[in-house]
């Protein structure tokens, strides 16, 4: 999958590219409006991550021109501006999602994956990992073909893990993903711990391997040991 990252802050752009590459996404980065327009004219991308505030232009304009050419790429806006108006405008002109800086790279990752899943008509309505199979349309989870009853939050958590395989996820990013931005850091410590405990239990109770590993002090990693 190809992703174009349009972001003028080089450090950030490169971080995003690196991180997404870990997940097997092919990334290209541009740092200004002009280069972005060029790239878009020449190539097709599955997903475009756009910063609104570019030094020589406005991200909104890029999106508008993309939409005019009936482009089917997924569009995610990242912006330092958190005004309600901007968010509404972003969604109105056709972006699929809106993330406010600073955000967790893993969160961006999860959103891109989710967006890609939504756009893939036919095929991959399922995610498989080891003994785990997730049917996205019905939101059912199977381990060794046995259906597991997951709560809504446990399901979201599992998808978050599956979207960020072999990536260390901090507790705070997990907490914010599942409970929303307003959760305070104090709450996140305990609640994430107990959520993960429950999820682990459900996934492993009938012989499924455990893929959720704690990473010392920081968070968790989903993967094969």
């Amino acid at each position: 999958m190809k992703v174009l990252i349009i972001e003028d802050e080089k450090g950030l752009a490169d971080s995003i590219a690196s991180h997404l590459s870990l997940e097997g996404l092919v990334c290209e980065t541009v740092y200004n409006y002009r280069d972005a327009s060029e790239k878009i004219a020449l190539y097709k991308y599955d997903c475009i991550v756009v910063d609104i505030n570019l030094p020589d232009g406005n991200g909104f304009t890029i999106i508008e021109s993309l939409k005019r050419t009936n482009c089917t790429s997924g569009i995610i806006i990242i912006s330092a501006r958190d005004s309600v108006d901007d968010r509404i405008k972003g969604l109105e002109i056709g972006s699929d999602d809106y993330l406010i800086k600073p955000f967790y790279l893993s969160e961006l990752n999860a959103r891109i994956k989710s967006l890609m899943r939504r756009r893939n008509f036919g095929g991959s309505n399922e995610i498989e990992y080891g003994e785990i199979r997730v049917e996205l349309l019905s939101r059912k989870v199977f381990v060794n073909n046995q259906e597991k009853n997951l709560t809504r939050k446990e399901y979201d958590l599992l998808l978050y893990f599956l979207s960020n395989q072999d990536i260390v996820l901090t507790r705070t990013s997990i907490a914010e993903h599942v409970w929303g931005d307003n959760i305070d850091s104090a709450d996140s410590l305990d609640v994430v711990y107990s959520q993960i405990k429950n999820l682990r239990r459900k996934l492993t109770e009938h012989g499924g391997a455990n893929y959720i590993h704690s990473v010392y002090g920081i968070g968790y990693k989903f993967g094969k040991a």
Binding site: E9, P102, L105, W179, S185
Partner: protein, 421 residues
């Protein structure tokens, strides 16, 4: 008390006092004048009497046809030069009642025998004059006072009108709005000065406020990029498998601090945006009770974890029109607060009726003023994890949306009440 009331009251009191004083004085003065007139006449008649005696060497009642006019009685001894005036009542057979008289008393010698003489003058006419004059003066004075009073009131209202207009304008001031403060020119120097000074002062205030706002917005905006880079790089760093445990610990601290900073920044930005009035356009009717219940359900794992028992007493829904985003933030913060500051196996009670919502939780008693709860960064227990912004945000949202939040501590319960302003 209004200015007009105060001055009217003073005017009234002063009028009443002076009215009475002048009235009484007036009465006595008139009386004195009239009496003096009567007494002068009596003295003339005394002279005439003495001349008569000197000429005729005798006195008889028949000399005067006016009843009781002159009364001559023998006296024990002569007191030459003695003269006195008295009020007296004498029965008159004409009118069948006692009539007031003024009499002059003196001694005289008739045929070498001392006599005590009294000459009378009727006071009726005089008294009537006194009464009439007094009444007329009273009426005139009253009319004068009353009309001055009304005139004064009218004038006052008129004169103070520009001032009242200034007051009204001031009451409508909104520093965050863009309206300039402009007053009409007044022909009265003092009011004009007042207006002009206010305009200037407000202009300066507004300017300062705007630059401060702009500065805050810029600073906050500028912070976001470096914070984003920091957060992203930390996230990348923790992916590395070559880090030692010690290094991980260090990175964890950096990450935690960066997260905290992000949260604080988010909170402060929110407060600034509310102050900016950015959420006023997006009001919708919201069932706050239902939203609150939803929020509680979101945190059910946390509640289970801490073994907190939640009871609901919902009589009716509390519905209000406000921005949905703000409503959610406010209630989430309150729920988070109730959970965070609770004791293990503690309780939370949610009450709701159409006029209010109550969120109460058990917890460690806090010292200090209840009001301090809502200040930024004030934390009750030195719980370093919580930001201390949550309640400040709650309060600010309430203020901006026409709600009132009240906090009380009672028997180990912390009670927050949301009502309409």
């Amino acid at each position: 008390m209004k200015l007009l009331q105060l001055t009217s009251r003073i005017f009234f009191l002063f009028s009443a006092v002076s009215y009475l004083t002048i009235g009484i004085l007036f009465y006595y003065i008139i009386k004195r004048i009239v009496y003096t007139e009567v007494e002068t006449r009596l003295q003339v008649e005394k002279k005439q009497f003495q001349e008569f005696i000197t000429e005729n060497h005798e006195w008889s009642e028949s000399s005067y046809f006016i009843e009781n006019k002159v009364l001559v009685e023998p006296a024990a001894h002569l007191q030459p030069g003695y003269e006195a005036f008295e009020d007296t009542m004498i029965y008159s057979s004409y009118d069948n009642k006692n009539i007031p008289y003024r009499q002059i008393l003196f001694y005289t010698e008739i045929q070498n025998k001392p006599y005590h003489v009294r000459i009378h003058k009727s006071l009726i006419g005089s008294l009537e004059i006194i009464q009439a004059i007094t009444i007329i003066m009273a009426v005139i004075f009253t009319i004068l006072l009353v009309s001055i009073y009304f005139f004064y009131r009218k004038l006052s209202k008129r004169i103070w009108r520009p001032f009242n207009r200034t007051l009204a304008s001031l009451a409508q001031l909104d520093l965050s709005g863009n309206k300039k403060l402009i007053f009409e020119r007044s022909s009265i120097y003092e009011f004009d000065m007042l207006n002009r000074t206010l305009e200037q002062m407000y202009g300066k205030l507004h300017q300062d406020y705007s630059s401060l706002k702009e500065f805050t917005e810029n600073a906050s905006h500028e912070m976001q990029s470096p914070m984003a880079v920091m957060q992203a790089r930390i996230e990348q760093l923790i992916q590395s498998s070559t880090l030692s445990d010690k290094q991980f610990e260090i990175i964890r601290d950096i990450h935690d601090s960066a997260s905290r900073m992000t949260k604080i920044h988010r909170g402060l930005t929110l407060l600034a945006r509310i102050d900016n009035g950015q959420y006023t356009e997006t009001s919708k009717e919201i069932n706050l009770t239902r939203l609150l219940l939803q929020r509680i359900r979101t945190y059910e794992e946390l509640l289970d974890d801490k073994k907190l028992e939640v009871t609901f007493e919902v009589e009716d829904f509390f519905v209000w029109s406000l921005s949905p985003e703000l409503a959610e933030i406010m209630l989430t913060n309150m729920v988070g607060n109730a959970i965070r500051h609770n004791i293990p196996e503690g309780k939370i009670i949610i009450k709701s009726d159409e006029n209010r919502i109550v969120i109460a939780n058990t917890g460690i008693p806090l010292e200090g003023l209840s009001e301090a709860m809502f200040e930024r960064f004030k934390k009750g227990n030195r719980d370093s994890e919580s930001l201390g912004l949550g309640l400040a945000i709650v309060k600010r949202i309430a203020e901006a949306c026409g709600l009132l939040i009240n906090y009380q501590q009672e028997n180990g319960w912390h009670i927050f009440t949301i009502t309409l302003r």
